[in-house]
């Protein structure tokens, strides 16, 4: 039964991926991509990666999808000009050949994976007690591979700085993105009033249980960012000017706390990002609490885009 489900799921994912490649209209392709992202979350559940499924649903499908839909809508008028640029049959055949070779090489690699599979599950399980957290993914993210997570938080911040740096000079320091207006009695404004309280509770819950069950700060922060963007798109609130000091503080607070705790580890535990015995869980909690608001604000501002309007 489950084999049939998996086979159907794989076929649907591939069909939607083909749709995003061949659809003539970019907007239609992007909508297909969002549906495909949602199906990928089911693939992650079938691969027993519930934490990954939550991340894929919130960030991979949700935030990326929203961003691409907005961009496709804005670029709609360029569709006609782009059709004339379609490459000829020879290029397409060559591309198909290259793609087929890549797929074939990967398929051979998949079928030739070593048996038994190498795994770090044993080492992780043996050392989980030292971290004090129950979710092995959180243990890996914030204890065993904390450096990756620190750099990831900084990459997100750098991406936002990159987006901001694309602002035209006249708009620098101003409000990001276009001004959104929506019918105050319409369905968008209605949802923007009804959904955020529910979304905030879901986000905090996913964040809170992340220490012991699937969930965590990235998933929670994405949902918080989505709720804020919903209110912005419905015209209920406006994005803050990027020159605000409180905004800058909120953006860097999480990474700064993370780096400070990591640096303290040099003195107290003998290595950068090492935690003293017995303090691992409280320190992990502090890092997570500090990162959640910073990530939520950073993700929301990435979605809001480059500053386009003067502050006032």
């Amino acid at each position: 039964m489950i084999e049939t489900f998996n086979a159907g799921l794989a076929l649907l994912v591939l069909a939607l991926a083909i749709w995003t490649v061949v659809a003539r209209d970019t907007f239609a392709a992007v909508v297909g991509f969002v549906a495909y992202g949602m199906l990928l979350t089911l693939v992650w559940v079938q691969l027993h990666g519930v934490d990954v499924a939550l991340t894929e649903g919130a960030i991979g499908g949700g935030l990326t999808g929203a961003m691409l839909i907005a961009a496709a809508a804005r670029l709609r008028c360029t569709e006609g000009a782009a059709r004339a640029e379609r490459p000829g049959v020879a290029t397409r055949l060559a591309a198909a050949l290259v793609a087929a070779c890549v797929t074939a090489a990967l398929a051979v690699a998949v079928l030739a994976l070593p048996e038994p599979a190498p795994t770090l599950a044993n080492e992780t399980a043996a050392n989980m007690a030292a971290t004090g957290v129950g979710n092995p993914i959180t243990g890996v993210l914030l204890a065993f591979r904390a450096m990756d997570t620190l750099l990831e938080a900084i990459v997100v911040l750098f991406a936002m700085i990159g987006v901001w740096s694309l602002a035209p000079d006249r708009a620098w320091g101003g409000r990001p993105g276009p001004l959104h207006r929506a019918d105050p009695d319409g369905i968008l404004a209605y949802l923007a009033r009804v959904l955020p309280p529910i979304g905030i509770i879901v986000a905090v819950y996913i964040f809170w249980i992340g220490a012991d069950l699937p969930g965590g700060k990235f998933q929670g922060a994405s949902i918080l960012a989505a709720m804020w963007l919903l209110a912005v798109m419905a015209g209920l609130t406006d994005a803050p000017p990027v020159s605000r000091t409180w905004l800058r503080v909120a953006l860097v607070a999480g990474p700064v706390v993370f780096i400070a705790i990591g640096a303290a580890g040099v003195a107290t535990a003998g290595a950068f990002l090492a935690y003293p015995d017995g303090l691992a869980k409280p320190l992990i909690k502090v890092i997570e609490w500090a990162l959640l608001p910073s990530l939520a604000v950073t993700l929301a501002l990435i979605l809001a885009g480059a500053p386009e309007r003067p502050a006032r």
């Binding site: 995003t20 392709a29 991509f33 691969l47 990666g49 991979g60 000009a81 397409r92 690699a109 997100v156």
Partner: protein
């Protein structure tokens, strides 16, 4: 158990191929960004299938690659966001969204279609 890993591993191989094809043949930058994401998804699912094969001790998969996947998805989002922002700025500056080196000037872009 191994079946799901092999099935989705092969599915991931096909996704990477599809993405590579789309990356080459679709002239529009936004479609290339979309294709880049399909390639990324394929790589992630392949990695996830490998992680699933490492299931042991009651874990559904090897937690180390699964945690790295979360990092990977967030970094892919960051790269996509930067690419989209670059594209929108290009569009604002030139009125066209094309990678062709002999890009038409603003007047040539059929901006009236929207």
């Amino acid at each position: 158990m191994t079946d799901a890993a092999t099935l989705f591993g092969l599915c991931a191989a096909a996704l990477v191929g599809l993405g590579v094809y789309a990356l080459i043949v679709n002239p529009q930058p936004l479609r290339k960004i979309l294709a880049f994401n399909v390639v990324g998804n394929g790589v992630f699912v392949l990695f996830g299938a490998v992680a699933h094969r490492g299931a042991a001790l009651g874990f559904g998969g090897d937690p180390v690659p699964q945690a790295l996947l979360i990092t990977g998805i967030v970094v892919a989002f960051s790269a996509t966001a930067l690419a989209v922002a670059l594209l929108l700025r290009l569009f604002d500056e030139t009125g066209a969204a094309t990678l062709a080196s002999d890009a038409p000037p603003k007047s040539h872009a059929d901006a009236g279609e929207a």
